[in-house]
Amino acid sequence: MKKHLDLHAAYQPQSFSFRSAEAVKDILSRYPEGRARSAIMPLLDLAQRQVAEDGAKANPPYGGWIPRAAMDEIARIVGQPPIKVYEVATFYSMYNIEPVGQYLVQMCTTTPCMLCGSDNIVKACQDRLGIGLGETTGDGKFSLMEVECLGACVNAPMVQINDDFYEDLTPARMVEIIDLLEQGKEVPVGSQTGRLNSQAEGGGTTLKDAKVRKSGT
């Protein structure tokens, strides 16, 4: 059973406002008159990103999540009762409605990744960070979260950290990635073995002599 959320919890900020009225207006302008309700999803995303920006500068840091005050504010903006926003926010796993760490590591454990060893990746993370799935490190840097297939099975096993995919992982590489992120260093995204997109391992095998048609010709 999912944990019961506490929207009255002490960590909930009392108020929330969007930093960029411009961005809000832009989102609202995408939908026809009287259909502002459709803007709930992009606005939730905007709120989550704004919190993430603040979180990166805070000490201890935190990641993007959506406080109740933000949901209430969105409800006000789109002219809907708050419950309608809560419904949407709780439905999608990409919206975090509780605080998370600065780096949210979403670990795929669905069948293809599992067959390619995702269990070991999970274990490596847990050992390295000393936390379990659904938990956040004490310094606020990392959260682990188990998710279902993220659609990169070809390069399994994989994880998603904030907005980026990290594919073709090994337990050792996973630990390295965490080290680098912890030190604030760059990590290349995508395949960690250097393969191009989802080409076969070891390079392309077919259509080697095909002439690439330039666009427009």
Partner: protein
């Protein structure tokens, strides 16, 4: 008009009719959970699956599929049974199957349909989901493990009640119905959630664990807690009313009732007058007496006080028959000091069109502009408000308010607060005046708040002028409406239980109170002799010198005329407690003691007497259009604002004041109001 075949029978239906509705017309039963004919159609329970050809070779949800020409529908094929069995099995996976301790047992859709489509054992061995039961207030009890996520409650709260506090959060196995941020569902219609929930997830809190449906004796009757005259069913066991449920009447309450109607009945068990009392001359205290003694004392005073110095007042809950009997009794003494407008309202009772809800409640749906004057219909008549909301939902009817600002569950334009604003509206051309002018069926609803003031008669004249200015009254449409708050009022006005020139309550020497409690007793001459006849020990009984214990609305047969002028018949569900008697009988018995025996021996003869003088009062459940004549008294109006006649929805009469449930609601909801306002 599409023509189709359902189970081999041909039927032609209006375009847009769903297969489920068409089947119903043929008397073919299709099981359903999420579909409800007064709510929107989400088609999420899948219980109503049928086989349709032509079309994809899979079962279809009949509630959401419109009939098309040439369709062949099977509601009983093997495929259908298999599909429904599958749906049922899925539904029961997480259902606790705790029928023995569930209040819905015996009247549960899931229970019934599991008999038809369920297996006798489960293939599911994992643990069932657990849920947190949200606390949604003192009226509705939640046991969310039983919920099948049909979302009827969510749709009811959003569409009918207009208080969208409920939602379906999370997803998959984790979905749950909740208010999310814990709070009470603040609507006057919350009890209906109990009725529409097809399982035992939402049940009645006060009724919890008290009775099983098959033990109850069911009586079809009429409600008296407001002037709507909701059709109800009273469920009783032995001498006790266990619960009150709505009964379908499309033109009055549809299939809803307000929480006061549903939950105030526990007040019928407390503070009852179950024997006569007489005030002791020496001690000045009330002491129990026999009927004989009480009658003798009352009769002696009735005969000794001179003509012109006696008065009779009737309260909010009286049945028509007892009021007629009382009028006859006073008439036999040549007494004309009669009054029913005990709430301090001043209005002209000489023209019926001037005091009834002419458009009828169902007629609200025809209106395209509504002006509310001095009324908060949400508190005064929750179902009239629900009708306005329905009209707003269907066609965005324009509503204007002159009076208090309050959340009415639909948007409105606040035009002003007092009679002067009404005057200005009549004179102006733009704004809401233009809306009324351009409307096809404009309507004005005047509440008691507009009349409960010194200038009531002038306000009434102003309202009439408004109706005439905006062309609200014409052949086939009468948009002038008065919204009453008392179930007895129209009946009393119709039989002329009013005094033309008024009388001074502070001067009369004898006052007969028939269930009249809702006015300050200090108005009565402190030396006057007071006879109180009624069912609760409230203000009137406190002041009384003789108490004649009467019957409450659940304990007698009687007629009530609602605010539309619709006469409806209430039926006796239980016996009155102790020595209490039906009211007309008490008056009839008393008449013998003053040697002016009333000429009727049973209710039938009394009704015959009524029919002779007021034939329209025997036209049960009919609406007779009232002729439009002059009423009101044009004059100067005061500058004060209108105040709604009902401030606390949960406390309006002697029964609600004795009800613990209503006291609890007052605490939770009114306190909640205060907390919200402070935020």
């Amino acid at each position: 008009m599409p023509k189709l075949t359902i189970d081999g029978v041909e039927i032609e239906v209006a375009p847009g009719t769903s297969i489920l509705q068409a089947s119903e017309m043929l008397g073919v039963e299709v099981p359903r959970f999420c579909y409800h004919d007064k709510l929107s159609v989400p088609a999420n329970c899948r219980m109503c699956l049928v086989e349709v050809s032509p079309g994809p070779p899979k079962p279809q949800a009949s509630c959401a599929l419109a009939c098309a020409d040439g369709m062949v529908v099977k509601t009983n094929s093997e495929m259908v049974h298999k599909a429904r069995k599958g749906v049922m099995e899925m539904m029961l996976i997480n259902h606790p199957l705790d029928c023995p301790i569930c209040d819905q047992g015996g009247e549960c859709d899931l229970q019934d349909q599991a008999v038809a489509y369920g297996f006798d054992r489960s293939r599911y061995h994992e643990s069932k989901r657990a849920k947190v039961d949200p606390d949604v207030g003192p009226l509705v009890k939640t046991v969310m493990t039983r919920c099948i996520q049909c979302t009827r409650c969510v749709r009811f709260a959003e569409e009918i009640a207009g208080t969208p506090d409920l939602g379906l959060v999370n997803r998959g196995e984790d979905v749950e119905i909740t208010t999310f941020v814990e709070k009470a569902i603040n609507t006057e219609l919350s009890g209906n959630l109990v009725d529409i929930c097809p399982v035992g997830a939402l049940t009645s809190k006060p009724y919890a664990f008290t009775a099983r449906p098959w033990e109850l004796r069911k009586t079809e009757s009429i409600d008296v807690h407001d002037a709507v005259g909701s059709n109800i069913r009273i469920d009783a066991r032995g001498g006790e009313v266990m619960r009150v449920l709505p009964r379908l009447h499309e033109d009055v309450n549809e299939e809803w009732i307000s929480d006061r109607t549903r939950y105030a009945h526990d007040g019928l068990k407390r503070q009852r007058l179950d024997r006569p009392y007489v005030r002791d001359a020496q001690s000045g205290k009330l002491r129990p007496a026999s009927w004989e003694e009480a009658f003798s004392v009352a009769a002696e005073k009735l005969l000794s006080v001179k003509q012109g110095w006696k008065a009779a007042l009737v309260g909010d809950l009286c049945d028509l028959e007892s009021m007629v009997a009382l009028k006859d009794l006073m008439g036999s003494l040549h007494e004309t000091n009669l009054e029913c407008r005990t709430d301090g309202a001043f209005y002209d009772a000489s023209s019926r069109a001037g005091y009834i809800f002419n458009s009828t409640i169902a007629g609200i749906e025809q209106a395209d502009a509504i002006l509310l004057v001095g009324t908060n219909p949400r508190r005064e008549a929750a179902l009239v408000n629900a009708r306005i909301r329905k009209t707003w939902l269907n066609k965005r009817v324009k509503v204007g308010v002159i009076g208090e600002v309050a959340d009415l569950t639909y948007p409105y334009e606040h035009i002003g607060t007092g009679p002067a604003d009404l005057e200005n509206l009549i004179k102006s051309a733009g704004g809401f005046a233009a809306v009324l002018k351009n409307a096809k069926n404009p309507m004005i609803i005047v509440g008691m708040g507009a009349f409960q003031r010194e200038d009531g008669l002038a306000v009434q004249a102003l309202a009439r002028q408004c109706a005439e200015t905006f062309n609200m009254v014409r052949e086939g449409w009468n948009g002038f409406n008065v919204l009453h708050t008392a179930a007895s009022r129209i009946g009393a006005l119709d039989i002329g239980f009013t005094s033309k020139d008024g009388f001074d309550l502070g001067k009369v020497e004898l006052v007969y109170l028939l269930g009249a409690d809702d006015f300050p007793m200090e108005y009565i001459n402190p030396h006057a002799f007071v006879i109180y006849q009624g069912h609760h020990g409230d203000a009137g009984a406190n002041r009384a010198d003789v108490i004649l214990p009467g019957a409450a609305y659940t304990e007698k047969n009687g007629l009530y005329v609602n605010t539309e002028g619709r006469v409806q018949m209430a039926r006796k569900a239980v016996e009155a407690p102790g020595e209490a008697r039906e009211d007309w009988k008490i008056i009839r018995a008393l008449s013998a003691y003053i040697h002016r025996q009333l000429p009727y021996d049973d209710l039938f003869q009394l009704r015959e007497r009524i029919a002779r003088e007021w034939p329209h009062l025997m036209q049960i459940d009919q609406i007779l259009p009232a002729p439009w004549t002059v009423f009101g008294l044009p004059g100067k109006v005061a500058g004060t604002s209108f105040v709604s006649a009902v401030q606390n929805f949960y406390m309006t009469n002697v029964i609600t004041r004795a009800s613990l449930t209503m006291a609890e609601c007052t605490k939770v909801f009114l306190h909640h109001d205060v907390a919200e306002a402070a935020e």
